[in-house]
């Protein structure tokens, strides 16, 4: 597909989708959103890039293999549970920092768990779609 409209649209839509996915991820704890939706939107950005160019190009722009994203996401989610354990509370206790950060808001282990979910969802979706598209 050598359409110039599609190329330009993908170039402008992809950053928009990625920013929106991060917005959904960060807002997720108190309002609508969360790691799962954010991950799906981020995956859609890469799929749009893969359709506009090709799958090899999308793999190159992702830098890492989707499998590495799944593994690191699971690791982040697990370590968010271990934080509570190490401070003497039960496993997976939600801990929050006292002072909220300027833009992001309050940071704590639930947000860390959501980041893990985000990475896993991006990895799984891209692994499935890239494998199907390359056949």
């Amino acid at each position: 597909m050598g359409s110039i409209i599609l190329h330009l649209a993908a170039r402008y839509l992809m950053p928009l989708l990625l920013v929106f996915s991060v917005f959904l991820l960060i807002r997720g704890h108190n309002e609508i959103g969360g790691g799962f939706v954010g991950g799906l939107v981020a995956a859609a950005a890469f799929i749009l890039y893969a359709i506009a160019n090709n799958v090899q190009e999308a793999r190159r722009i992702l830098r890492v293999h989707p499998r590495a994203l799944i593994a690191s996401g699971l690791l982040v989610a697990l370590s968010s549970g271990l934080v509570g354990w190490l401070t003497g509370k039960p496993f997976m206790t939600g801990l929050w920092l006292k002072d909220p950060l300027p833009v992001i808001g309050k940071i704590g282990t639930p947000l860390m768990f959501d980041v893990g979910v985000y990475l896993v969802v991006v990895g799984v979706t891209l692994l499935i779609i890239f494998t199907l598209a390359e056949e």
Binding site: M1, L6, A9, L13, L16, L17, F20, L24, E31, I32, G33, V37, V41, A44, I47, L48, I51, A52
Partner: protein, 87 residues
């Protein structure tokens, strides 16, 4: 006249449009007709979500409309890619 009546009127008209688009989706003689009908259904769904969000003062629903607007573009392109490759 109350302003809310206008939103209900808009919702009714969009629903009528949805029914007509679905008729085209079912009857559409060729695949491109159906793809255009799906695109229209998505656009009307965005309209319904926006009207509903204004009517019941739920700004969070507008995010759903934004996501659908960004993704439906992707869906239509994927269909176009499929049709082009099949011919």
């Amino acid at each position: 006249m109350n302003i809310e009546v206008l939103y209900f009127l808009a919702l009714a008209m969009i629903s009528l449009g949805l029914v007509l688009a679905f008729i085209r989706l079912v009857r559409g003689p060729s695949l491109p007709d159906r793809v255009v009908a799906i695109d229209l259904v998505v656009a009307l769904a965005i309209g319904i979500i926006a009207s509903y969000a204004i009517l019941f003062d739920q700004p969070a629903f507008l995010d759903v409309a934004i996501i659908i607007a960004l993704i439906s573009f992707l869906g239509t392109i994927a269909f176009a890619y499929y049709i082009e490759r099949r011919v």
